[in-house]
Each structure stands twice: as structure tokens, then as C-alpha cells.
Symmetry: C2
Subunit: 199 residues, 2 copies
DNA sequence: GTCTATAGGTGGATAGAC
DNA sequence: GTCTATCCACCTATAGAC
């Protein structure tokens, strides 16, 4: 692997582990073994390197969302993506960046993060829309809205897991979301009009 | 206000705005107007000050959860707490800490965060249990699990909102969660036994 | 492209007088 | 309790030779 690639790889790891502000050029040099001169030859500033690393992390993350758009029934795909194995205590390598003041205040650094979430949201919303069409989800639920709910469950699950240093809350959070989705199957949607009449 | 109190107040604000790692003793001095000598007299290290500030932020947060335990029907209280006004773009002053490497790797600093979440979880679980008892929520839903789901929706909603620099995704996420809770009312829970028979 | 040397500024304190 | 002065390591580069 050439120096440039090695630097990006290393910075990606460190940004996942420690964030942007708390990762120094020295950390990157020491872990990668690349010298000072090379580093500043390829990336004039720390921010330039961070931008490349951020884009790499986003690219790492997006392929997994194809699970939402594969074969199988919409709900099966939704369940598969929601419940796919995730390192709860490590957190999300993209979502994490939103908590770094130097990233969130820098439109250029935040842009890849925003784009990634927009992309993931599209995937979720499409699958949820298909679930409604397939009669697996009540038609009065808003797929775009639910997409945000499910993304939030995952992002927030990481927060809970890290706080407790225990993946349990993360798994609880997503399992609970799945329970709710199942409870919202149209088969159970009897007498809604009756409930409304009581208001 | 005396220096000590002023320092804690200022550190609390800065930790909410910028986190722990990215807040320097100098920042605290400059914003608070307290001198170097006073600062190190009251708090020998930055970590000591951070711990006091963290505990203050936790204390700020917990009173609001009493909304989950007040008068009114359980679901009404759940909705009120879930939908209560929140500054989505500022994030959660407690949850934020889980993303700071220097906090998450320090058991002493992480402890107040863990305690706070445990406390909030108790409040959620109690209200959800009561909702089941009151017949507002299907009995086959697990309140402890759902409590984590709803906490995650809020914590994750902040992440989405900050990523897009728009409170919209936060509001979508929690509104979607409320939609699901309503879809999980027992009134709709007809023929559950039939569904199970099909497995 | 990579190396070593250098540099100004900040971080996180400590020392000691008042 | 508060003040000013001082300190060393580290951060984020820049310079210039090879």
C-alpha cells in the first residue's frame, strides 16, 4: 500500500476510535509509520486528511444499505438490515462525527456525513414504502418519517450502549423497534375508525 | 455567584457546546472571567472540574423526566415527554459525552452519564408498564425494551438533526415513534393468537 | 516523495506572592 | 481565595536537504 492510501486508512480508523479533534497528526504518523515529510506532502493540513478519511468511512458504510433493496419481502429486508451484526460499543463511524465540534462547525467536513445520512434515508424510506404496498405495514404510516425513526434507533442505540458499556441497550432498542413494526402490521388494524369515533 | 459555582456553570455550558476534550481550561477562564489561581484552587485538574460540570448537567436533565410520572393517562404522559420542546441542533448535554473519547474511556467521568440513563430508563419503563396495564399498549410488548427504543429515538434524533443541520429529522423520528406506539394499541390487537398459530 | 530540523502557539498545569 | 509568572509537552505545521 502506498503512503497516501495508508494515511487515509489510518486516519479513518483513528477518527472512528477517537474522533477528529482528539486525533493528532502525530497519532497518524505513529500508527501508520509514514514520515512527517510524506504526510504533509500528500495532505497539506490535518483537515485535508480528515476529509479524505471521512469520505472513505462513508464509502465503507453505504454498501451495507443494499440489504434494504435486495430480494425477499420488504419486512424481511428491513429486519435483516436493522438486526445485522454491529459493534455497538464502537458506535457508528459516520454518526460519531456529528458530535465533534470541529466537524459539526465545518460545513466542508460535515457535508459527507449529511450526504451519507440522506442516502441511507432513501434506502429505508424505499423499503418501508414497499412494505406498505406489500400490505406488511399499515398504510397510514409515513415511510419517510419512519425511516428517520429507525435510523435514530440505531444511532441512539450506540449512545445508550456506550453509556452503559454494554451492548444490551443497543440490542433492546432495535428489538423494541422491530416489535413495534410488527405490531403495526395491517392484520392488526381492525376498528381504527371506532377508536377515532371516541375522541 | 461565587467563583466555584461560576466555574461549574461555565464548564457545563462548554461541555454541552464543545465536549470535554475540546474545551480547555483557558476557554473556561475566558468565558467565566475567573482567574487562573482561583480556578486551580477550586479544581486541581480539568478532570475535577469536568466531573462537577457533568454532575450538574445530569441534575439539570433528570427533573424533566418527572413528566413521565405525573397525572394523566400513561400514554398522554409518554407523548408529552417524547414530544416536549427540545433544541434538536444542540443535542443532549448528557448523551453527547458518550462520544468524547476522553470521557468514554474514563470510568469516573462516564459513571454520571450511565447513572443518568439508568434513571431515565426507569422512568420510561414505568410509564410504559402503566400503559400496558391501562390497556393503552399491547400486553405482548416489553416495556423495558421499548424504553430503550424510545430513548434511542431521542438520542439518535439529535445525531440526524445535527448531520443535516435541520431539526426536521429529529421531529420526524419522534413523531414516527409515536405513530408506531399508537399503532400498537390493543384496540388494534385482534387475532394475535391467530397470528401466532401461523408460526 | 521522503527525510530531519525547526518553530510559534496552546494545553494543562505549578510556584509563590498577596 | 486570588493574582501573576513560569513551565514543559504536544499540536500543527513549515523549511530545506536528499
Amino acid at each position: 500500500m502506498d503512503s497516501r492510501q495508508l494515511l487515509v486508512e489510518t486516519m479513518s480508523e483513528l477518527m472512528w476510535e477517537r474522533g477528529y479533534a482528539d486525533t493528532s497528526p502525530r497519532d497518524v504518523r505513529e500508527r501508520s509509520g509514514v514520515g512527517q515529510g510524506s504526510m504533509y506532502h500528500h495532505f497539506p493540513t490535518k483537515r485535508d486528511l480528515a476529509l479524505a478519511a471521512l469520505e472513505r468511512n462513508v464509502a465503507d458504510l453505504l454498501p451495507a444499505t443494499s440489504e434494504l433493496d435486495g430480494p425477499g419481502s420488504p419486512m424481511a429486508r428491513i429486519e435483516a438490515y436493522l438486526m445485522r451484526p454491529r459493534a455497538a460499543l464502537r458506535g457508528c463511524k459516520v454518526g460519531r462525527m456529528t458530535q465533534d465540534p470541529q466537524v459539526r462547525e465545518d460545513p466542508v467536513l460535515l457535508a459527507p456525513v449529511a450526504r451519507a445520512f440522506t442516502q441511507v434515508h432513501l434506502g429505508w424510506a424505499k423499503a418501508l414504502r414497499e412494505a406498505v404496498t406489500a400490505g406488511e405495514l399499515r398504510a397510514d404510516l409515513d415511510p419517510e418519517r419512519l425511516a428517520h425513526t429507525l435510523m435514530a434507533v440505531l444511532q441512539g442505540g450506540y449512545v445508550l450502549a456506550i453509556a452503559q458499556q454494554d451492548p444490551g441497550p443497543f440490542d433492546d432498542a432495535r428489538a423494541g423497534a422491530l416489535d413495534l413494526l410488527r405490531a403495526a402490521a395491517p392484520a392488526n388494524n381492525v376498528r381504527v375508525s371506532e377508536r377515532n369515533r371516541r375522541n
